[in-house]
């Protein structure tokens, strides 16, 4: 008994640094943010901040969710296509190229996209010459441009996860299907994707969370209004010194992400009868 307690204690000591970091840098700020979001200007507990959040920013919240959702869809479609291709065929060039955006900082991507997609930007300068037209509308200040940039950034990460899952599958399934005459498309849809469901799910959730929490890209690309939650948070802090509403917006985005997390946990439990890696 004494022995067991002691070994438990040693174990606890080992994880203590990690726990302490988590508590100081994550749990404490989280609780503090929630607390501040319920304080009005004079420090009383009230719902005034949330009233403001929904009065001013409801549309932006919906917009953020929509853009993040769309990013998830496009990034996943592209990553499944790339991963399926690389599952069957070795192509070194593609294998390297799809990872490239992983190593380019958000700020650089934002600036590049803003110039690339501007009305008289690089892409349009090329297109107007090819199609011999005078003017083309720019994408840099529309939601399409924002979606484009997000997809560019998020796809490699999703592809890494999906491709990993595809490659980890026992190839006997694939070979068996091939022996029975299944086409590659059929194999992708009826074997690879269903069997990698949980990994695809992880890729989806990570993409969503990374998108909805991004600030750099929506500042530089995309419309001014509606805009995403993070830009509104920055606006509240910088222009109003108003941490209450900013934290209220933060709590709302926590909740959005939380919904996904709960859904994910449920899915994992029903899928495997427990939470595993």
């Amino acid at each position: 008994m004494q022995q067991k307690l002691r070994s438990n204690f040693t174990g606890f000591l080992f994880i203590l640094p990690a726990l302490a970091v988590l508590a100081c840098l994550y749990v404490f700020p989280l609780l503090r943010a929630i607390w501040i979001s319920f304080l009005d200007k004079s420090g009383n507990i009230s719902l005034a901040n949330y009233q403001k959040v929904f009065e001013f920013y409801l549309r932006d919240i919906l917009y953020s969710v929509a853009i993040s959702g769309l990013t998830v869809v496009t990034a996943l479609v592209i990553s499944v296509v790339i991963a399926s291709y690389l599952r069957f065929k070795e192509w070194k060039f593609l294998d390297y190229m799809y990872r490239l955006p992983l190593f380019i900082p958000f700020l650089i991507v934002g600036h590049a996209m803003r110039i690339f997609l501007a009305p008289h930007g690089t892409m349009n300068s090329l297109l107007t010459r090819i199609f011999m037209v005078e003017e083309l509308p720019g994408l840099s200040t529309s939601w399409v441009g924002l979606l484009w940039s997000f997809t560019w950034i998020m796809t490699p990460f999703a592809t890494l996860i999906v491709l990993g899952a595809f490659k980890a599958l026992d190839s006997s399934y694939v070979e068996a299907a091939q022996n029975l005459g299944a086409s590659k498309l059929k194999i992708v849809f009826s074997i690879l994707i269903p069997l990698s469901r949980s990994s695809i799910m992880v890729a989806m959730i990570l993409t969503f969370v990374r998108t909805i929490s991004s600030l750099t890209i929506p500042i530089m690309v995309g419309p001014n209004s509606p805009t995403v939650i993070t830009v509104d948070m920055m606006f509240r802090v910088n222009y109003f010194n108003d941490w209450g509403v900013a934290n209220g917006l933060g709590v709302v985005s926590y909740l959005i992400v939380m919904v996904l997390a709960i859904y994910y946990l449920r899915f994992m439990i029903s899928e495997r009868g427990g939470i595993k890696g």
Partner: protein, 384 residues
Amino acid sequence: MKRFAVLTFVVLLAAIFAFAQEDIPVKVTLTLMVAGDQNMADFFQYEIAPEFEKLHPNVKVKVVGTGPGDAGSQQIIQQLQLEKDSGKDKWAIDLVIIHETGAVWAIEKGLIRKYTDFLTAKRLAIRNTDEIALGFDVDGYVMPMFHSQTAIAFNPRYVKNPPKSYEELVQWVKEHPGKFGYNGIKQGMSGVSFVSGWLYWQSQNPEVIMNGPYDKKYEADWEGIFAQLKEFNKYVTITSGNAGTLDMLNRGEIWMGPVWVDMFYTWMREGRMDPNIRIVIPAPGMPGQPMHYAIPLKAANADYALKLIELVSSPRMQAKYIIERFNWYPAIGDDYVAPFLDEEVLDRLYKDVKQDDLLKYGKPMPLLQYKQDMLEAYERWVEK
């Protein structure tokens, strides 16, 4: 023997210090926190720091830039608040350069001290920006570093007769949809300035909005004003940020848009802006704002901070750096600066917008509460 060695060592050490610092034998690191665009940080890092260190060899100037817009000031205020909360006797920040909003916040939170009664340059400040910021009494706490102004830049290739007033601008925009661009209110102050000008034009009480007193009753007509701005926005391109407007002007995507005059001229001098583009301030005027020097309440080296402010505010330095190198309008009277300038430099600065225009159309930013109400009004009635 041992005692002798120690003694020699101490004497030697003292001698080294004495000879190294013939003037004042105390090493000082003077820490500046600077809000504003990169050019602000560069100004102190590469121009002022070397000059100051030459005058005071015992001082090392350390410059920390915190970024553009009120956000930059906000960061500085947070740092000062941390110093205050720590309860230390001597704060590690000696001098801050902040926007008007930042100055008001700092005074409200008790983060900066009065100092300008020791400042000779204060006698040379002729505009009242050193006394009132956003309607608040800041007298004693701040000295302006320079004045900055917003204006409408236009491309004369497409715009032969630039609008002389907001009224004409509205007319022009309806005739040329999509060719006027500004950056809304969330991404930079040139857009906020444009909206302030719009409000000054339409409001029944522009003087009250600029100078106070604050009362919601003066906002009764705002809903209609912003409804018109929403209508106006249908014919307008919304750009991304102060730099976004300049970029689009330069690429010819828009033909007109509000810009900061100093940024505009600096871009032009650096070859990043079509040199044919001109500026104009439409009636009834657009706001500008100074940047302010302030000394933190318990700055460890307040004495040297004061010396630095004195140096930078002197007519010679204002002429050489503020006007000639950085294209800002001076913090002190033009007459004090003119003897130190070439005619050509003054002409360049006042080429499009004359000094008279500046006095007539250069407005302050709205009172802080009005400014915040204005931003929310824009969110409520224009963006939705």
